[in-house]
């Protein structure tokens, strides 16, 4: 592991953040009350608050943050572009069209998630088909395909927003800006996090080599094509899991890999592991702020990630 101090600091920060996430809210719990609730003791109300209200939200935020940061790391290697983030491939746009379509039909929450999933899958298939060039994935072609698809989806989203009745507009806007308030379980997102983490760590060495460019990597003995396909679908799986869970949340996938590289984490195996802790922690704090600074009003977490992320990245850039 490169820079063990950074990794240790991130793990401690993660533990503190998760604990803080469980104790802070409209009902403030003391450390001992959180502990009692976690081990199944203490009052019934406290156990309900911790297990049913806060834990799913906090762990979903952590998993989503980790997934976004990993997807950003993976796509920056695949597309060889520092501006690549999990949504550059149009996945959020496709999911948004699906979700807003379900919302406009007045369907229930589960159908909205299914709509988002179908929209994301459509976007993934389209961008993959358009980005494929005979012998492998063409990074520029895929980027362009993603940008064009995103523009198309953005146009459809605008139409949904303009044509939606006022009663649906608030829900649609919240969905579009990312929101953890509708999360009831973190299980699915956590499973996806585990799958993407294990696969990405196994690919770590190959990612280092692929970052030298496809041709150079090939001369070093890497079979670039299957690796590119694996990276694409892992990143797509991560982005889809997040967008279905909480809607599109920008900036985490762009910010975290760059911030970690600026802190000296450059090998991909270390970068992937640190991405999970840094991205997860970042989103836990963003969600904490979203639900507490204007409580009882909840703010969209996507706005908070950008508000926090822009100055953070600027400070790191200036210090470097």
């Amino acid at each position: 592991m490169q820079r063990p101090a950074v990794a240790v600091a991130l793990i401690i920060l993660t533990a503190v953040s998760l604990w803080f996430g469980l104790s802070v809210g409209s009902v403030k719990l003391t450390n001992s009350e959180v502990w009692q609730a976690l081990i199944g003791q203490g009052s019934e109300v406290h156990r309900q608050i911790v297990y049913e209200l806060r834990a799913p939200r906090v762990f979903a935020a952590f998993a989503c943050g980790g997934l976004l940061a990993m997807a950003g790391t993976l796509l920056q290697v695949l597309l060889r572009n520092p501006l690549a983030d999990p949504y550059i491939l149009g996945i959020s746009g496709g999911a948004a069209v699906g979700a807003l379509g379900a919302l406009s039909l007045g369907l229930a929450a589960l159908s909205i998630n299914i709509g988002a999933l179908l929209g994301a899958l459509l976007a993934i298939l389209l961008v993959f088909a358009l980005g494929w060039r005979g012998r492998g994935i063409g990074p520029e072609r895929m980027l362009l395909a993603g940008v064009v698809l995103s523009a198309g989806f953005a146009a459809i989203i605008s139409l949904f927003l303009v044509l939606a009745p006022a009663a649906q507009l608030h829900g649609m806007l919240f969905w579009l800006m990312g929101d953890f308030s509708r999360v009831v379980s973190a299980n699915a997102t956590t499973i996806v996090l585990a799958i993407v983490t294990v696969a990405s760590i196994l690919l770590g060495r190959s990612l280092d080599v692929l970052s030298l460019g496809e041709t150079k990597a090939t001369t070093l003995g890497l079979s670039a094509r299957p690796l590119q396909i694996a990276i694409f679908f892992l990143a797509a799986l991560a982005a889809t899991a997040v967008v279905v869970t909480a809607g599109p949340i920008g900036f985490v996938g762009l910010l975290v890999p760059h911030a970690l590289r600026l802190l000296g984490i450059t090998r991909h195996r270390a970068l992937i592991v640190c991405s999970i802790f840094a991205g997860g922690t970042f989103l836990v704090w963003a969600d904490l702020l979203a639900r507490s600074i204007a409580a009882p009003l909840q703010l969209p977490v996507g706005a908070i990630t950008a508000l926090l992320g822009v100055p953070l990245l600027l400070v790191l850039l200036i210090r470097r």
């Binding site: 030298l212 090939t218 001369t219 070093l220 003995g221």
Partner: protein, 249 residues
């Protein structure tokens, strides 16, 4: 004894035949210079030899087996290549960059302590060891070129394909690089095939030369007899009379 050979190799770009019916064998211990005008197919030939592109006709065989039939990793252990243009996007240190050459051998730093010594020896051979802990993107063009060559030394193939290895290098480092690869051929019995634009260096450091002409034909043989003023004038379609070369006429 390693032999990389082409049989009736034809390479073409759309609308232009670069190389026609080339049959040649590159043997262990030989240091080759590939010479030719811009666009004559030197890079394309090296890419074909490394199985990075397919030939229009003919075959390329490494020890009697077609290069396309080698698994990628095995081929990387036999043939290493310095590309003319390699990416400049690398966020780690020079040491980490050079160590990536170990990927071809299937070894990795943690698994093999010898690897650390291998990487250090390669960096010191390319005189880049003093910059080992600097970030790759802080290096100058010449330093990056030496780091790329050090990575190739770590890869340790039997055959080195070098596409313009002297790019960005000052005189001192040009000589160091040429000497290093000549020794790899003469002393260690490796095969070195390099694209050079400096005919003087080609005649001094290489024992074999391959000249690629614009019409798709080529000539090859001993460097000393092939690299002459008259042949160069014909190869590059220019007059050499006004220049003073210390070359055989």
């Amino acid at each position: 004894m390693t032999t990389l050979a082409t049989e009736n190799l034809t390479l073409a770009h759309p609308g232009k035949t670069l190389l026609r019916d080339l049959t040649i064998a590159f043997q262990s211990g030989e240091c080759w210079a590939v010479l030719g005008a811009n666009g004559s197919g030197k890079t394309t030939l090296l890419h074909a030899l490394a199985n990075l592109r397919t030939a229009q006709n003919g075959a390329i065989k490494l020890d009697e087996k077609n290069v396309v039939d080698y698994p990628r990793r095995e081929l990387a252990q036999r043939i290493g290549m310095l590309l003319q243009e390699e990416g400049n996007e690398f966020h780690g240190s020079v040491r980490e960059y050079v160590e990536l050459g170990l990927f071809a051998q299937g070894t990795w730093l943690a698994a093999n302590p010898d690897a650390v010594r291998t990487a250090h020896a390669a960096m010191s051979r390319m005189q880049i060891d003093s910059r080992a802990d600097h970030l790759w993107n802080q290096l100058s063009g010449g330093e990056r070129q030496r780091a790329r060559l050090a990575q190739l030394l770590v890869q340790a193939p039997d055959i080195y394909l070098l596409d313009e290895p002297l790019l960005h290098l000052d005189l001192r480092h040009q000589l160091a690089v040429l000497q290093c690869f000549r020794d790899l051929a003469r002393v260690d019995g490796k095969t070195v095939i390099m694209v050079l634009h400096d005919s003087l260096w080609a005649s001094r450091f290489c024992d074999r030369a391959l000249m690629l002409y614009d019409d798709g034909n080529c000539r090859f043989g001993a460097a000393q007899t092939l690299i002459t003023k008259n042949n160069l004038a014909q190869l590059y379609s220019c007059s050499m009379d006004s220049f003073e070369f210390s070359l055989p006429t």
